[in-house]
């Protein structure tokens, strides 16, 4: 597929995300069955904006490209979206909805509630959250900062897990 045709298809897909107001009424059926579908859509929209333009859409999708080989001229550029740090930052922002740079207990609980729904009791949910925070929180402030998040995921193979191969 040529790049042109690929971007045609992207335009079509991105029409489906067009209005943030479409959030409760998903037009993409498979996204409705995803427990964190709402957060993923919200992640595409920069804060305070109600509309998504094509360059921002592509920028977000760039997080999912495979990590490229090191090229000497890239060292001068700021962190790329598809680098390990870029991918981790995207995942961090799925938790940290108010963008204060820390995942509080409440934010963690919200994500857990979305992923587990009514299948677990409130108590079990709290204890899972407590345990997760205890494990990850190194400086004891009761919230997880980006560095602590990075550390807890240091063994996860982000290159393969957060990687979507576009085009055959």
């Amino acid at each position: 597929l040529s790049f042109l045709e690929c971007s045609w298809r992207f335009c079509g897909r991105f029409k489906a995300l067009w209005m943030k107001a479409a959030l409760p009424d998903f037009k993409i059926r498979e996204l409705t069955e995803n427990p964190i579908g709402g957060r993923i859509i919200a992640a595409f929209f920069p804060p305070e904006k109600e509309r998504l333009d094509f360059p921002s859409f592509v920028r977000i999708l760039a997080h999912f490209r495979p990590i490229g080989k090191n090229r000497s001229r890239d060292r001068a550029q700021p962190e790329q979206a598809n680098s390990r740090t870029g991918k981790l930052k995207f995942a961090f922002e799925l938790y940290d909805q108010d963008r204060d740079g820390k995942i509080s207990r409440e934010e963690l609980l919200q994500v857990l509630r979305a992923m587990l729904g009514l299948q677990v009791t409130e108590e079990q949910l709290r204890s899972i959250a407590e345990r997760a925070i205890q494990e990850a929180d190194l400086d004891g402030d009761g919230a997880i900062s980006f560095d602590e998040f990075k550390k807890s995921l240091e063994k996860v193979d982000m290159e393969h897990k957060m990687n979507i191969r576009f085009l055959k």
Binding site: R13, R29, A132, S152, L153, M162, F166
Partner: protein, 427 residues
């Protein structure tokens, strides 16, 4: 990207066929058709279940611990699946028109006009002239004549007292009506495996792309149709049809009563001399790249099922009726102003419900056979999703699978904790 020679060749090829076809109406022309499988943008690896994906995700992180537990990285699995479905999902692809590899000179087939030069634009202009100036008027005249003749003849046959003669003539009149319609659409239909043509007293199921599927199938033998009673021209045609052969038309109120519907279908099918009933179990039109979930109603009746697969060649004109985009009349005009309606019909061998198989499994089996024959993707999504939202049950299923992984562990952790609490006392 359009290839000039392919387009031009198709165009010449096509106009010659059309001329030949109108001169010799009894000559059956066979066209070699290629099957297109649905193409996706993503190269998907073999789909793993939720559990397997989770295990993979965690095994790299918790190599020292044998039991899984909640990890901050679990969200990545859902995140990736979500973004993959944003980029390319199965359901939207099945309800939008197919895309062509090379242009067939119809602007409706592509998103925007490919400005590739004067020659192509001229050729397109010529195509428009031919299609709207010559083909469309001829087709409309044929269609109107056909319907007019059909209504009159069918009603007059209905006045005949003798039922056997009436049945015989009725069938002939119906076939004549359908053949007129087929000619008026310039449909080139290839019937494969005619030995499996549906027999009397059975049910025929087919995949649904357009309301014209009925005409395509009924061109070969007569079926009893099932549907709602309409008003206007369509209502007139329905009433005329019923006079000469048995069809099952429901009032709008009756459609909601499933038992009544099932009973009428059963009664009709139980009579072995009656024509086979034609049913489209998907319930809605799908774009002919995939087959959606078959509703189990018609499979519960217990008759022999004759599956029929219909595949259109969309190079000559897209036959899919996107009912949310345009109405029936607009759709007919689109078909009549395309180059032609080229399709293949495969009659599959009859299937019966086996011992210990319930209606849903039987429906799945029939669907799989049908999709395999026509080269369509076999999807489990409900055709009703065209208009309605996905039920929350799907999301709950995902949540349940995930929670199973966590909870199993949580129990063992709780036990560990209790154990730890006890030991200090014993100290």
């Amino acid at each position: 990207l359009p290839k000039m020679d392919y387009v031009f060749l198709n165009f010449c090829f096509f106009s010659i066929f059309y001329a030949y076809f109108t001169i010799s109406p009894y000559h059956h022309i066979t066209i070699f058709l290629l099957l297109y499988l649905a193409k996706g943008i993503l190269s998907k690896s073999k789909p793993l279940s939720v559990q397997e994906n989770m295990q993979e995700l965690r095994s790299s992180a918790h190599s020292r611990r044998s039991e899984p537990q909640f990890d901050m990285g679990d969200v990545i699995y859902f995140c990736r699946k979500g973004v993959e479905s944003i980029i390319d999902d199965e359901v939207t692809k099945s309800f939008s028109a197919q895309e062509l590899e090379s242009w067939n000179l119809l602007t409706r087939s592509i998103r925007r006009f490919p400005h590739r030069g004067l020659r192509l634009t001229l050729l397109w202009g010529l195509g428009v002239l031919i299609r709207y100036g010559i083909l469309l008027p001829l087709r409309v005249i044929l269609a109107v004549t056909g319907i007019f003749l059909f209504v009159i003849l069918s009603t007059s046959v209905g006045f005949l007292p003798n039922s056997k003669l009436r049945f015989f003539l009725g069938e002939k009149v119906h076939l004549m009506g359908y053949r007129f319609c087929v000619k008026s659409l310039t449909a080139f239909i290839t019937y494969h495996n005619s030995e499996n043509r549906p027999k009397n007293g059975s049910i025929c199921v087919a995949n649904h792309t357009t309301p014209l599927d009925v005409i395509i199938l009924a061109n070969d033998r007569c079926y009893s149709l099932v549907g709602q009673v309409h008003r206007g021209l369509l209502g007139l045609i329905q009433r005329a049809m019923v006079k000469s052969s048995p069809h099952i038309w429901f009032e709008r109120a009756e459609v909601k009563d499933r038992h009544l519907v099932a009973k009428r279908l059963c009664d009709h099918a139980a009579d072995k001399t009656k024509q086979p009933i034609l049913i489209f179990p998907e319930g809605t039109c799908v774009n002919n790249t995939s087959v959606m979930m078959f509703k189990k109603g018609s499979f519960e009746i217990g008759c022999t099922i004759f599956p029929v697969a219909i595949k259109y060649d969309f190079r000559f004109g897209d036959a899919y009726w996107n009912s949310s985009k345009f109405g029936l009349v607009h759709h007919l005009l689109r078909i009549m102003s395309s180059w032609a309606l080229v399709c293949s019909v495969w009659y599959l061998p009859p299937m019966n419900r086996e011992e210990g198989e319930d209606a849903v499994q039987f429906a799945k089996r029939v669907k799989a056979a049908l999709a395999a024959q026509a080269g369509l993707a076999d999807l489990t999504w409900d055709g009703g999703l065209k208009r309605t939202k996905v039920k929350d049950a799907f999301k709950e299923e995902q949540q349940r699978l995930y929670s199973e992984i966590l909870l199993k562990v949580h129990q063992t952790q709780k036990q560990e904790k209790c154990f730890e609490d006890e030991t200090p006392e014993g100290d």
